[in-house]
Structure formats: structure tokens, C-alpha cells
Amino acid sequence: MSVVLEQIFQVGFLAAIIRIATPLAFATLGEMFSERAGVLNLGIEGIMLLSAMTGFTATSLSGSLWLGVLAAVLTGALMGAVHALFTVALGLSQHVCGIGVTLFSSGLAYFLYRLIFGQQSVPPSIKSFETLPIPVLSDIPVLGPAVFNQFSLVYMAMAAVPLAAFVLYRTPWGLSVRMVGENPRAADSAGVGVIATRFQAVMLGGALMGLAGAFLSMVQFNAFTFGLVSGRGWVAIALVVFGRWDPWRSAGAALLFAFVDALQLRMQASGLGHIPYEAFLMLPFIFTIVAMAVMSRNAVAPSALLKPFRREER
């Protein structure tokens, strides 16, 4: 146990947790907004990949990192709108549309990337963000360098959690989102535009998924690679359930997952040579499945999740 504790209170380990948690936090918050409005978005895996590609490409071509982030956010919001068009406006199966959006976005990401950059033996990379130490706070021992000497996108993720909670619980729009996710008919009677609110929530969710993708290709890897997302989107969907559709709990779930993931990375590196490293790679996924089994009995999904709204039908 003491070995584990020693590992935890290392700057490198804490920083790794934060770095792994950042894209997951964006993605999880994005999926949470969508689901709180009643729309499951299985397109998340593909949306993250396509946004990672457009963000990387925009930066690579323009030289501006923030232009890349903007491109990724817009891509995410656009693909969110596509998913909303099918599931909200047309009322089609959210499960199958989400898979369709993922297949389409992933295919498009690879297609466009190959078209723009061709086939290269060494994938092109970009010069990423510098870390941005926050004065005073970054001088705190251990915690400071790990948490407060990070990339600006990491700070954005930290700020996104309270902001998401504020928007969801303290603003009229957040109330509308929760209403259309719980009882769209009542929301409609109260004069809330169900279709419009759901569109907005799914698009906001998509934009956050876009940020997650941007972080992967522009900060974590500095390149767009095949299999860049590798299941992180699916994990985010599970984390929303684990976090009971709440911003704080979802972010906590993302941190917990990041802890397990960072731990397995450490265990891979720490000379447990007789165990194949794939066993560690599996660990976060198995952990997530088990966590869902434990949590799902108490988890209460938004009542109108998966249910399309048509005004004329009862």
C-alpha cells in the first residue's frame, strides 16, 4: 500500500492523471449535456476523431494553435447538429444514428487526412502549446507543478466543470435542458421549445467533444494518428452513467478513470515484466464495465432519454 501511496504523491503521476482526465472531462461533460436533454450521442467517438483531425489540420496549415481549437469546436458543434437533425428533428433511433455518425465521422476524418497530408512514413506533427504556470499556485509543493503548471486547455477543462454545473442548475436555459430531458411534454406546455433546446444541448455537447478531440491531437500527441481516440468516447459514455448525469460527479468519474489509467501506465513501466502490458491496457475498460455494474442499479437516467418528441403524438 505504501508503494502505491508513494506513487500517487509524485508530481509526474499527478500530472499524468490531470493530462489523461482532461479530454475525458470535456467528452464526459459534452455527452452529459446531450443526455440531460434526452439525446444519447453514440457519435462521440467519431466526433472526437473528426475534431482532432480538423483541429490538427487547421493548426498545421495556419500555424495558429487557437485557430485549430476553434476549428475542432466548430466541427464538434456541426456534427452535433447532424446528430440532432437525425435524432431530434426526424426522431430516428438514437442508438443507430449515433453509430452512423461515428462511422461517417471516422471515415471522413481518415479520408480528409489522407487527402491533405498524403501517405507519409513519419506522420507530420505540430509544435504544441507551452505549459502556463499560474503564479503563486504553481509554487505549492507537489500539487503546484502537477496541477497549476499545465496547458491552457487543461485549465479550460477545470473551469468547464463548475461552469457546466452553473449552466445546468442555475440558468433558465439549463432548466429548459433538464425539462426537455425529463418531461418534454410538460416543457412544451410551459412554452419551452423542445426541439430547439435539444438541438442546442446536443450542439454544445458536440463542441465539448470537439475540445476533447483537439486536446488529443494538439496537446497529448501533437499529431493525428489512426486510432487516436481508441475508445475514449465510449468510456466517456460510461462515465456519464457512473457520474449519474451530474457535472461534478461526471468530472469525478473522469478523474477516477484517469487515476486507474495512469496507474496501469505506471505498472506497465515498473518492471512487472511477466504480465503482458495488454493486461494493463484492458484494466481501465474492465474497471469501467465493473463500475457500471455496481452503479447502474441506483443510476436514474433522464426520463426522456432515447425518446423522440413529436408534438402531435400522445
Binding site: F86, H95, G100, G107, Y110, I237, E278, M282, M292
Partner: protein, 351 residues
């Protein structure tokens, strides 16, 4: 005035017209990407067609390519009929491939080896599918998410095998040892790759159709999918039906892996499936979850995949176009399905 009104029934020709409509729309939409790549649209689709269906060898290649997607398409069709959202056909395929490869490496008479490979692969796929089904029935865990996450787990398990105990000690490549020569599925047509598994896939479709349409289990699967409350009221043990569906679905996906090992690759490697499990979802939806429709739908996707590689070589359009086509076809088919629920009717203002 035009308005939409609900339909109560759909004419039979819809089963053919809707997928064709969706495929037509898909090809039109995706032609934009061909133009973007600077190639001629007619030329690119022309190469795609002739390379996949243009001569008898091309047709056999397309049939070989369609085989795993017939199996995964059937797996998804069966599962979705019961509204068991099995997105895990990819992992079940990999499990089937690993199990059949392990059995195929044991020296024994050929026919026995093939039979045992099929049984082992089907059992492995079924065992994997049992996990999300059990989690859903016992713990109310969403089957979509658990079956998706399980795909990653199975993939890493496969990697652990081929980079560990199965690794080729001579070359160091992460590939499994080959199966026994006697276990290789017989080739049906000299000079092609058309193997026994192709026939098995084409026979499986009518068998599964019969099972769904004409047997008690098939009836229960359909009722559980359409109205679980009514099913329960009618004395059907819904949980048991879901478990049976999962076992059947997983076994079919596992057989997709068996065919790839026994008939195409004769060993297991990390890229043994270029996403055949996910393509199965597209196939099943194009087929409107009808097992007989799975065959032409799988042939279409196989032709696109086979043709895209040749198109890429000839015109420089990235072969990833086939992935975009798959995703677009799935979405287009969903939109086309709206015609089954609604009809457009012109409402006259005067008589």
C-alpha cells in the same frame, strides 16, 4: 398542401426500394468527396464497379469479402430484432477467430478440425456476447456501452496472445502460428479464394430467416423486441429470451471470425478484421433486419470495400471513401425508413 400521415402497413416492394434509395443517395453524396479529391466521379465509381463485380475473379473476391459481413450482419439483425443492442460483434468476431485458430492448430483429420473450429468459434463468440446480456438482465447495465467497451478488452486480449505466447519466435512478428494445412477450408474454385465458409454464410442466411420467422424462439425474439410488456404478460420469460438472443448473435459473429481464419488468413493477426463487426450494423440496417436481406446488403458493402482499393490505386482517391460510404449509407437508410412510418399525402384545398 402536403402533409405527413402515419402509415399502418408498408407495401412489400419497400423492402427493395428503400435500401436502393439509400444506396443511391449515398453514392450521390459521396461523389462530392471524389470531386474534392480531383478525380472523375464516373471514372472512380466505374473502377470501383469493375474491380468488384466486373469479372468472375473480382466477383469471387467480393463474395469472400462479403462472408464475414453476412455473419456479423445476421448477428446484429438477430440481436436488434429483440432490441438487444449488440454493438460488440467486432469483439465476438475476434474471439471466434482466436478460438478457431487455437483448435485449428491441433493436428487432426481435416473435416473434424473444421467442424471443431466452427463450434469453438461460435462458442467463443457466444460467451463474449453473454457478458453484456447478463449485465443488462442482472445489473441493468446499458448493453450498448458494455458491448462497445468489451470490444477493446477482447482486442487487447488478442494482442496479448499474439505478442506473447503465440508470437512467431522465428520472425518476431505479432502473428499467431498458422493452423494445420488439413484444417484450411477447401477452395471451391481453382485459382480463387472462394472457400467453404462462403457457402456456409449463404446457407446461414435462410436458416436464420427460418429461425426468426417460423420458430417459437424466433417468435419470442420478435415479441420481446416489439413489446416486452406484452411478452411478459403473455408468459414469455423476457430475460431468458434476451440471453438466448445474445448467445445466437454472438455465435454468428464468432463464425465470422472462424471463416476469416479457416478460409482467408489461416492464422490470427491484429488487423484480421477491418471493422467487420461495425459493418455488420450497416448491413443489418440496410437489410431492415431481415436475414435474407443481409446477403445482398453484405455484398454491396463488400463490393464497395473491394472496389475502393482498386479505385484508390487508379485515381488517387483515398480508399477510406469506403468507410465514409458505410457511415453515409447507414444514415441514409435510417432516413429512408421514415417512409415506412409516414406517407407523404397531397391534401387538396378544393375538391
Amino acid at each position: 398542401m402536403i402533409r405527413l400521415e402515419a402509415r399502418t402497413s408498408t407495401p412489400g416492394w419497400f423492402n427493395l426500394a428503400l435500401p436502393l434509395l439509400a444506396i443511391g443517395a449515398t453514392l450521390v453524396l459521396c461523389s462530392g468527396l471524389i470531386a474534392l479529391a480531383g478525380a472523375g466521379i464516373v471514372e472512380a465509381y466505374g473502377v470501383m464497379f469493375s474491380a468488384s463485380l466486373g469479372d468472375s475473379y473480382a466477383i469471387t473476391e467480393t463474395l469472400v469479402r462479403a462472408t464475414p459481413m453476412i455473419f456479423t450482419g445476421l448477428a446484429v439483425a438477430v440481436a436488434f430484432r429483440a432490441k438487444f443492442w449488440n454493438i460488440g460483434a467486432e469483439g465476438q468476431l475476434l474471439a471466434g477467430a482466436v478460438a478457431s485458430c487455437a483448435v485449428g492448430a491441433i493436428p487432426m483429420p481435416g473435416p473434424l478440425a473444421m467442424l471443431l473450429m466452427a463450434l469453438a468459434g461460435a462458442a467463443a463468440g457466444a460467451a463474449v456476447a453473454l457478458v453484456p446480456a447478463t449485465l443488462r438482465v442482472k445489473f441493468r447495465v446499458d448493453d450498448v456501452v458494455s458491448s462497445l467497451l468489451l470490444n477493446s478488452v477482447i482486442f487487447y486480449a488478442l494482442m496479448a496472445l499474439i505478442e506473447g505466447p503465440w508470437k512467431d519466435s522465428f520472425s518476431g512478428y505479432p502473428i499467431s502460428p498458422p493452423i494445420e494445412d488439413s484444417a484450411n477450408f477447401p477452395v471451391l474454385l481453382e485459382g480463387t479464394r472462394l472457400h467453404l465458409g462462403v457457402v456456409a454464410a449463404f446457407l446461414a442466411a435462410p436458416v436464420i430467416w427460418f429461425l426468426i420467422a417460423r420458430t417459437t424462439l424466433g417468435f419470442r425474439i420478435r415479441v420481446v423486441g416489439e413489446n416486452p410488456e406484452a411478452a411478459r404478460y403473455g408468459g414469455i420469460h423476457v430475460e431468458r429470451v434476451l440471453i438466448s438472443t445474445a448467445l445466437l448473435s454472438g455465435a454468428l459473429a464468432g463464425l465470422a471470425g472462424v471463416g476469416e481464419v479457416g478460409g482467408v488468413h489461416f492464422q490470427v493477426m491484429s488487423d484480421i478484421s477491418p471493422g467487420y463487426g461495425y459493418s455488420g450494423i450497416v448491413v443489418a440496417m440496410l437489410a431492415r433486419l431481415n436475414p435474407l436481406g443481409v446477403v445482398p446488403a453484405a455484398l454491396f458493402l463488400a463490393a464497395v470495400m473491394t472496389g475502393a482499393e482498386a479505385m484508390s490505386r487508379a485515381t488517387g482517391v483515398p480508399a477510406f471513401l469506403s468507410d465514409v460510404i458505410q457511415g453515409t449509407a447507414l444514415l441514409a437508410m435510417l432516413v429512408a425508413l421514415l417512409f415506412t412510418a409516414y406517407r407523404v399525402r397531397r391534401v387538396g384545398t378544393a375538391r
